[in-house]
């Protein structure tokens, strides 16, 4: 899997941000410390990423924002994926009435407009911390995954090796966890990554709309604070560019990993390397 450059690059970016989220705040400056003598300073040797309107170090905020954003992203993805597994796999495996019920639920969530719904619910649950936000994002973001997992486990559960192990006497529990789930790890991890980007983006969006707790620092709240202080129109680009770029990078990384894994697992997607194409052409022309 690591042979795919997409996976390698994606994983290294994700790993970098993961480390940043875990260890960054321990070594970096205090993101909330404000230095009144250095307000809205462009990047300099002293403040590598410049400072905010409040004299806060943008680098420190970006680092600490990594934790805030990734926490929500990972948590939302974990919750969403968990629900998707809990709904999708039994639906596909057991079929029948279980499936009818769960599938209806899935379809229902699938056609519900998620962002407005999240907005409304988040609006009700006021002053939400990262955990609640992640919970809400996760709760509304599982349906696509559940549908995929249902379809997959439906086809897996009628695959011969599952039937064969059932004939050998394996109980349902083991069939689900040892025969079916291992085949879904690719889907599940893709789903997780996808959910993570979704979570990070949704958190940023919600923060932008002022729904999240602005007391916690995330990339979303950074952009929101910058927007609130008209940083964009005042040309304080160093304030809002780093968080936006970080989100884009994480998103790109996760997408790359997913594509890479897709290409490895689905040979139909594998594209011949350019060298091969060139060689083929040469032979033809020779």
């Amino acid at each position: 899997m690591l042979r795919s450059w997409k996976v390698r690059i994606g994983l290294s970016i994700l790993g970098f941000f993961g480390l940043l989220a875990v260890f960054g705040p321990l070594v970096g400056q205090d993101p909330r410390a404000n230095d009144i003598s250095a307000i809205s300073q462009p990047p300099s040797a002293h403040h590598l990423f410049g400072t905010t309107q409040f004299g806060q170090d943008v680098l420190a905020q970006t680092i600490s924002g990594a934790r805030g954003s990734m926490l929500v992203g990972v948590l939302a993805a974990a919750i969403g994926t968990l629900i998707a597994v809990l709904v999708g796999v039994p639906a596909g495996y057991f079929g029948g009435a279980v499936d009818n019920g769960l599938n209806f639920l899935t379809n229902l969530f699938l056609v519900m407009p998620v962002l407005p719904l999240i907005l409304i619910v988040a609006g009700y649950v006021q002053g939400t911390g990262p955990f609640v936000i992640a919970l809400i994002i996760g709760l509304f973001g599982w349906s696509g995954g559940a549908r995929t997992l249902r379809a997959q486990s439906l086809s897996l559960s009628s695959r011969d090796f599952v039937l064969a192990m059932r004939m050998v006497g394996e109980p349902h529990r083991r069939l689900i966890f040892f025969e079916i789930l291992p085949h879904l790890t690719g889907w599940i991890s893709a789903m997780f990554l996808h959910g993570m980007i979704g979570g990070v983006m949704a958190e940023a969006g919600l923060a932008f709309l002022g729904i999240t707790d602005s007391g916690s620092i995330s990339w979303g709240t950074m952009i929101q604070a910058a927007q609130q202080q008209s940083a964009v129109l005042r040309g304080l680009w160093w304030w809002f560019v780093p968080p936006g770029l970080c989100i884009a990078l994480i998103g790109t990384a996760a997408t790359l990993v997913n594509f890479g894994v897709d290409e490895v697992s689905n040979p139909k997607l594998r594209v011949a390397r350019r060298s091969v194409v060139v060689r083929t052409r040469k032979v033809v022309e020779a």
């Binding site: 909330r32 410390a33 404000n34 009144i36 307000i39 905010t52 309107q53 409040f54 004299g55 806060q56 609006g123 006021q126 002053g127 002022g210 729904i211 707790d213 602005s214 007391g215 709240t221 929101q224 604070a225 609130q228 202080q229 008209s230 964009v232 129109l233 005042r234």
Partner: protein
């Protein structure tokens, strides 16, 4: 804005027009002139159509002045008020404005509680003659006279309103006593037409246009001269706007009589101890906050009363005084109260308190809260947690008393107005919603002074009482002011001159101030005309 030119461009070609940009009303306007209804968003600048009986003169310390009412007199120890009306006022449909209209308008909130949106305190209104009405209160009400200056309690024509179902009627073509009538109403532009028979005089403009815009777009539009007038804060406006054309670009701040303060929850340990309150008040870095606000020099004095408005009312010893961060003093206060700080928490008698500060995230206050938190941490070692909430949650928590410290706005039209909320008549226990006394201040001395203020309209007496209250606020610190609040006015005086200035004003040029807005408009002149 567009290639066809901005609204002002075409507006000026068509005649004398003034363009006002509204930044807080969303992207569209709704044609709803049901002015007394409980809607919180109505058509904008309705005060140019419907006028109240009185006005508050902020330039003179917030005293109440006549408007549609010509004069008034209290009787029965302030429980009875006789109001004499102007006789030269006509509705825009030509009918005369009479006491019947006043009785109807003032009576509506009493008859229809769902229309009681202005918080009236009188119990009955009766007609004395065609130009006189009598209002009766259950309590002495000298201090609450300003309810008749509330733009939420304007005069409406009985001959039109009485026959409508007010629960469904949006009053699309309002008839009022004000200088304007509604000309054209489009969701993204309203044109008000000036009346020729306005009782207050002839307006210099023929139309008044209102357009919606966003705070950021507003700046560009002002710079371009697309609009004449707006009310929005512009941090660093001096440099970014005024400096570019000091003659025509005006950015004005008028004190609104209030301040942004740290409110202590005095019903709760540790803030029921004055020493703790004092210690925290002594270590607020007000300068840092106004610096990042880009509003230098607007630090609040210890009383919370703005000098711009209340210069005459302020105790001279508090004048010009701004508390700098005083860590030593604060520590001494804590020691006096037997408090120590251990590991970021306040400790006394083995009990630890780790306070948090509630703020409104919608105001983007988180970063200012951080400044306070940082200062408390640096000077006292106290670790205060930030607890941001969006507006709704913020008000919920504040009203229920579920906070330790809160960043809250305090203020009012007069000294009484500013301090009134400290009265224990508004006290509710924690967990029960409080309208005013969210800090749960409960002090017999304060109550006594406020009660006395409510029972007199003697200015000297009021000033004395006011100074007593100031002393309580400074010594007992039920709240600690950080910076003064303002009305922010943005003007592009390319087309219209004669604007008031904060240095010299009879009325505040803030659209939404009711009669003040009208007075401002009346005083403008076309440049070059």
């Amino acid at each position: 804005s567009g290639p066809t030119g901005g609204p002002a461009a075409t507006g000026s070609a068509g005649g004398a027009s003034i363009v006002y940009a509204k930044t807080d009303g969303g992207t569209t306007f709704v044609r709803n002139y049901n002015v007394l209804g409980p809607a919180t968003d109505k058509a904008p600048n309705m005060e140019l159509v419907y006028e109240p009986l009185m006005r508050v003169d902020y330039g003179a310390g917030g005293v109440v002045k006549p408007w549609l009412a010509e004069s008034w007199a209290f009787a029965a120890q302030g429980k009875q008020l006789t109001i004499k009306l102007r006789t030269d006022v006509k509705w825009s449909d030509g009918q005369k404005f009479t006491a019947d209209d006043v009785v109807y308008s003032l009576g509506l909130p009493i008859e229809k509680p769902d229309f009681s949106i202005a918080g009236v305190t009188y119990k009955s209104v009766t007609k004395v003659d065609d130009s006189t009405v009598k209002v009766v209160f259950p309590e002495p009400s000298y201090a609450t006279l300003n309810q008749f200056a509330n733009i939420l309690l304007p005069m409406v024509p009985k001959h039109i309103w009485a026959s409508q179902n007010l629960n469904t009627w949006t009053n699309p073509d309002p008839v009022g006593t004000g200088p304007f009538t509604v000309g054209e109403f489009k969701p993204q532009q309203i044109t008000l037409k000036a009346r020729s028979d306005y009782w207050g005089g002839k307006l210099p403009m023929t139309t008044y246009k209102i357009i919606p815009t966003s705070a950021d777009a507003l700046k560009a539009q002002l710079l371009k001269g697309d609009i004449d007038w707006a009310s929005a804060s512009w941090p660093n406006g001096e440099k970014e706007y005024v400096a570019k054309d000091p003659d025509k670009h005006l950015y004005q701040l008028y004190s609104n009589g209030g301040a942004m303060s740290v409110l202590f929850n005095t019903a709760k340990a540790p803030f029921n101890d004055v020493h703790v309150r004092r210690a925290l008040a002594l270590t607020i870095d007000r300068t840092a906050v106004v610096t990042t606000l880009q509003r230098p020099g607007t630090e609040a004095g210890p009383t919370g009363l703005s000098e711009q408005l209340f210069g005459d009312w302020l105790d001279p010893s508090y004048k010009g005084k701004v508390q700098k961060v005083d860590a030593t003093g604060a520590k001494a206060e804590l020691a006096k109260g037997g408090w120590t700080i251990d590991n970021g928490a306040l400790v006394k008698d083995g009990k630890r308190y780790q306070p948090s500060i509630l703020f409104n995230a919608d105001w983007g206050w988180g970063n200012y809260a951080d400044i306070l938190i940082n200062t408390w941490k640096q000077s006292l070692g106290l670790q205060v947690k930030g607890a941001g909430q969006p507006s709704a949650g913020y008000y919920d928590k504040q009203n229920l008393g579920q906070f330790d410290l809160a960043a809250a706005s305090t203020g009012g039209a007069s000294v009484y107005g500013v301090y009134r909320f400290l009265s224990s008549q508004f006290l509710t226990p924690i967990g029960k919603s409080a309208t005013l006394d969210q800090g749960r201040w409960n002090d017999p001395e304060t109550d006594k002074i406020i009660r006395s203020m409510e029972r007199t309209d003697n200015v000297d007496e009021l000033k004395t009482l006011g100074k007593q209250l100031q002393k309580i606020v400074v010594d007992e610190v039920p709240f600690s002011p950080i910076y003064n609040n303002f009305y922010f006015i943005d003007i592009n005086a390319t087309r219209w001159t004669g604007w008031p200035t904060p240095e010299k004003f009879d009325s505040i040029p803030f659209a939404g101030m009711g009669p003040d807005t009208i007075r401002t408009l009346l005083s403008l002149q076309r440049r070059g005309n």
